[in-house]
Structure formats: C-alpha cells, structure tokens
Amino acid sequence: MDPSPGLVDLPKEVKENLLRWCDYSSVIALGKTCKTWHDFISAPDHNLPILAITLKCRENSHGMQVMSTVPFEGIMELNYVTLEYKQDGETSNVTRCPDANWESPRTTLVDNEDCRKLLKKDLEVLKQLLGNSRLMTFEVDFDDVSNVRCLRELGERYHELCNIVSGVWGNQMIEANCLKMKFHLEIYADRILRTFAPGILRRIILSPIEVGGFDFYARKPLSLHETSRMAQWIGAKEILFPDFKTKPYPEKIIHLEWVYVSWLCFKPAHLVKLMEEFILLKSTSKDFTIWSDHIEISKYSFSILYGESVELQCSPGTHIWYFDTPSPDFVVEFTLVEGSNVSFKIIMDVEMKEGATIRDFNRLDWI
C-alpha cells in the first residue's frame, strides 16, 4: 500500500461512500482541496440529496442556509452551511458574510449590488460545489411579515426567489417549495394567502407565536375560533406546530380545514376546551387531530361517563364516541387512539358507525 496515503488516491466507490457521511460544509471543503476532488464532487452521478435550502428574507438582509442531516453515533445531526447578505439602509452596500467553507474572503462589501443577484451567483457556486444534487425543499422564510406594507410585493418576491432557485437547480431537481412566515394578525394571514396562488404551498409551519395554546401553569384556553375565509389554506397537506405547548399565547388558531397538532402532553382539561369549541361549532376546522406522546385520557374514564365507545375492529385501540351539535344533521366524531392521538371531526350523522349513540357533550363537566 502507498506509504503516504492521500484522500485523492481513494477509489471511486470509497469516495462516494465517504461523501454520503459528510455534511455539506465538509463536501464543500473537500471540493476545494484539489481539482481531483472538485471534479469528483461535480460529476453528475453522485446525486447527493440536499435536505433544504432556506432563504431567510428580512427587511435589510438575506440569508441562505443549506441543511443536511448526517447520522453520527445514532443521532441525526443537522448541519448547516450559511451565507448572509446584509444591506446597509443608507449606502445600499451589501455585506456578504459566508460560512468558513463557503467562499473567501469571509466578508465582502459590494457597492449597490442587489442581494438577489448575489444570491443567484452563490446558488450557482453552491450547485457547483455540491454537484448534481437533488433539492428536497426550497424554503423561503419571510419571518415576521407584519411590517410588510405591500403584500403583493411579498408575493412577487417569493415567486422571484422560486424562479431564481429553479433556474439554477432545474425544476425537476426540486422536490418541494415551502413558504414560512409569522403572523400576528389573522387579517395578515388572510391577505397574504389571497396574494399567493392557492395550491403552491405543500407544508405550512406555524411557530408558537401565531397559534393559541395552553400555558403550562395558567392553562389558558385554546381557541379554534372563526376565520373560515381562508380557503387558500385548504390545500395544505400538513400543518406542524412545533413546541406547541411551550408558549403561552392564548391567541386564535387560524382556520384550517385540517389541523394536525403535535402536543407535548394532552390532559383531560385540554379536552374540555376543544370539545366546547367543536361541539358548539365555534371552530370551522372540520378535522382536528392532536398527536401526543402523553395522552392522559383513557377509554376507561371516558366510557364511565359516556358509555361504551364504538371500537374499530380493523384498528385495535381506536375508540369512537359521537356528540350532539347545535346544527341538525351534524355530529362530532371524537376518536381516541390510545397512547397516540385524539381527533375531532364534524360529520353528517348518517356517516356514523352502525349502532353508535349520540351523546350530550354537557356532561363533560366531570373532567
């Protein structure tokens, strides 16, 4: 074997295997060590998947984050390569602050150069550095949009950024586009969503500030009230509320046709409010599912008050109760999947399972 080993001398299969375990920062660094590695990484047959490229758009700055996951010691570790552009409001100069491995020099001042042009250039550089990679998610994060005056402009910016990335990456190499933003007022959400074409969003992520929740101690109620105007959200397949329980904002949940919430711990007291919302039809969400590691509601305790549930033969551990609503012909279907989730659905009474009885929700006082 060669007495002075070098990474350049590795066979192709080994290099490919090695790249699979490298985060992007390392891939970029390796590509810059020498021409051999650069050419190897740029070769079109590796197809390294990129988990996400996030463009963070603030008023006077843009940031790009390239995310990968590399499993080490049994843990999926998130790795980022970042690049930031900060525009000086007075001079319009752009300060470019790349990650250590991106490009040198680390900080460059570019006179009057538009951030988006720089972004495009850097995306092209990134594409070269990471080879022919598949981009799983392209995400534009507008952060807090409550200060944005012209929403149409925001929509145009989003489309422009999507066009830039698809121009560089190629439409067929991007799996999904994603838009992320914070709303403080429902009216903003409504207006913004009217501005963006429906159906372009596959995933909506709401951070805790925009949604209601229970305070750990004060147990402020969750409201699923109104805002049924936002038909644009109906097309969303998945809604994530990360750390839903951790922030005490008793604000209203924006209406969604389907809502899926990951809850840290779901207690009987939480159920009372949700039932009230649903059964009185304050909520316009038709389907509300809560997933939790700790659902503190059992089939036993619920059956004592409401009688036997309907059990699904095809799905053991799934129990269903039906509750009356003020609207004739409609009932709330409450499903408990033991240890996993609870969900509410507003359905027509004719859709009820055979032999089921409709209960009166008022008896929920016991909880």
């Binding site: 080993p5 590795l10 375990w21 920062s25």
Partner: protein
C-alpha cells in the same frame, strides 16, 4: 485477536496451532480458511467470519477447498499490511453471524492506519466495515477547512500537483533521452 492464530510463513504457510474458540459451539463442525498479508503471518478464520468479505466469500465458493487444501493454500493478500489484515480478521470474527451495529467505535484513530484499512476493506469488499471507516474519515474531515484537510490527508494543492507532474514528465523525458543515448551507444 483472541480468535486469530498467527505464525510466520515463507513459501509454505505456518501451521496454525489452535483453532479459534467459538462462544457457542455449532453442531456442524465449522470450516476454516487461512489468509495472510504482506508480512506472511497466517490467520485462521472461520468461513462464517469470512462471509463479511464478498471477495473471499466468492473465492471460497469458487474453489470448493477442503480443510486440508485450505490450510495448504492460504489466500495471499500481498497488498495488505499484516497489522491491517489482523484488524480486518478481528472485526470479521467479532461480527461473525451477528447483525452489525449502527456505529463502530473501535476503528483506528490514526489516519495512516485508517486509510490503509479503508483500502484493504474496499479491496476485500467488506461493505459494513467500509461504511464504518468512511464514517470515521467523514468525522475527521468535519469542521476542517480545505487547507486543514489538505494538510491532514496529504492532498497536494493543484499547483503542487502540476509542479510534481511537470517534474515527473521532465524526469521521464530525461530518462527516455538517456535510454536512447545508451541504445545508440550500444548500437555503435
């Protein structure tokens, strides 16, 4: 290394004295094969352990050796250092018939050893161990600048590479010229 028998060998392999102990003795007697590296030290390895290596497994299946034949004809891996082959054999024995864990923390930390192990494992086609090794190399690359990687893994810069190439060409040119001159001299 408990299950590896060592001895020195030149033309004929050294006679291994003891067989590796299996924790649970199989009902059917296990067959053993012999391998040696650059240092000619012969390692006795069970067929079960050798299944990790696609290369050796293929050789065994094709040859259909008996125990005696296997003993008389150890597989020679002259391109693999003895200590590296030892590591490989140990790993194969440790993971014989077991599902491989997601991580392996017993890999060498010195880059020269790791590098040799990578090449050996790749040659012997031991997929799982190669993955562990590559993870280890990736770990060593992580967080390093291109300059640091170059230094650690002895990657010449493009300029150095070009200079070395030119030098090599020059040397080859000179040698060729020398040979031509010598040939001309001989002809005279």
């Amino acid at each position: 290394m408990s299950s590896t028998e060592q001895g020195t060998s030149s033309a004929a392999p050294a006679e291994p004295t003891t067989a590796p102990e299996s924790a649970a003795a199989p009902e059917v007697p296990e067959s053993f094969y012999y391998v040696h590296g650059k240092d000619k030290v012969v390692h006795k390895v069970s067929a079960g352990a050798l299944q990790h290596s696609a290369l050796i497994h293929g050789m065994i299946s094709n040859l259909g050796y008996t125990e005696e034949q296997a003993k008389a004809n150890p597989f020679p891996f002259e391109n693999i250092d003895g200590d590296i082959l030892q590591m490989v054999v140990d790993w194969c024995n440790q993971h014989k018939g077991k599902p491989t864990p997601p991580e392996d923390t017993n890999l060498p930390k010195q880059k020269e050893k790791l590098f040799d192990l990578v090449l050996a494992v790749n040659y012997l086609e031991i997929k799982e161990l190669l993955t562990y090794c590559c993870k280890q190399v990736a770990m060593m690359v992580k967080g390093k600048s291109p300059e640091e990687i170059r230094e650690i893994w002895m990657i010449p810069t493009d300029a150095e590479d070009e200079a070395a190439e030119k030098e090599a060409k020059k040397r080859a040119g000179k040698e060729a010229a020398g040979e031509t001159a010598a040939a001309a001299g001989d002809a005279k």
